[in-house]
């Protein structure tokens, strides 16, 4: 599914020696790829921004017992970042996400079921050393 990002086209933050520099081209970005590339570390750096940035909402396995769909329904104008998405998102919630044009999604997982996405929604995390820092970016999943 090709749709423009509803909330932001770019997100950047710094956490000590780590830099996040993400450019979004779709409203739903599925971040997949090998284990151990730093996806959950990147999530934790974005989650830190949630404290001061009202446009960021982060969800992970610590929200396992909550009603995730209800949380999403109450959100408006947010970049919603979901780690452990393959565990937390049921079919009903996935269908809701596919039709939600009020919020933007960054889903860390590998299962695109019921999100009505195409390969244009699939991305992987890449990192590069810049001086003493490690910079994380996203690129189309090959």
């Amino acid at each position: 599914m090709k749709s423009r990002p509803a909330v932001m086209e770019h997100f950047a933050t710094v956490h000590t020696s780590f830099v996040i520099d993400f450019t979004f081209t779709n409203n739903i970005t599925i971040l997949m790829g090998d284990s151990g590339t730093g996806k959950t570390a990147a999530f934790s750096f974005i989650k830190e921004c949630m404290v001061t940035n009202p446009k960021i909402l982060c969800i992970d396995y610590f929200d396992y017992q909550k009603n995730i769909k209800e949380i999403l329904c109450q959100a408006n104008g947010k970049l919603i970042v979901v780690d452990n998405a393959d565990i937390l998102l049921d079919d009903d919630t996935r269908k809701y996400i596919s039709q939600d044009d009020e919020n933007q999604y960054l889903l860390i997982g590998r299962n695109p079921k019921n999100l009505f996405t195409t390969k244009e929604n699939l991305f992987e995390l890449v990192s590069e050393r810049v001086g003493e820092q490690t910079k994380f970016m996203i690129q189309p999943y090959m």
């Binding site: 090998d34 284990s35 151990g36 590339t37 959950t40 396992y64 590998r110 299962n111 990192s127």
Partner: protein, 147 residues
């Protein structure tokens, strides 16, 4: 070889199913780690096991607590150290799947196909029985076949 379930109802009642690999690893598997874990940690997370609870990260070459391993790596270690339990397969990347599919024993579950690009034999189990599959396409077909 590992045994794969595609439906929770197929898992025998005397075998515990673990969905959240992170928590199970942090609370149970971490304290069982020994030198055998090092090869998996290096292959999957490109990190080095320094001691029982410490790893040297691939990023920045810094020392981290073992809880910072990837979920895929934790899943592999859960299966290795607890081959009597069934673990959710869904958060494994291809690199973790390749290691997991090479194990001599262990149980995993996913309702959709999670197959590494290169695989050997695995056992699949439903209420109808067990069988061995050693072909990628055949395994994918089994997974997608709604019995």
């Amino acid at each position: 070889m590992i045994t794969i379930f595609k439906n929770k109802r197929d898992i025998p009642q005397d075998i515990t199913y673990i969905e959240l690999n992170d928590i199970f690893f942090n609370q149970n598997t971490a304290e069982k780690l020994d030198e055998r874990a090092a090869q998996f940690i290096e292959k999957i997370d490109d990190a080095r096991l320094l001691s029982k609870y410490k790893i040297r990260s691939r990023f920045d070459d810094i020392t981290l607590n073992i809880d910072r391993l990837s979920t895929g790596c934790k899943t592999v270690l859960n299966v290795f150290y607890y081959p009597d339990k069934v673990f959710c397969l869904k958060e494994c990347g291809n690199n973790a799947l390749e290691v997991l599919y090479g194990f001599e024993k262990g149980f995993v579950y996913s309702e959709y196909a999670m197959i590494p690009f290169e695989m050997d034999s695995v056992e699949v189990q439903t209420l109808g029985g067990k069988k061995v599959i050693d072909d990628y396409e055949e395994l994918k077909e089994w997974w997608e076949d709604e019995e």
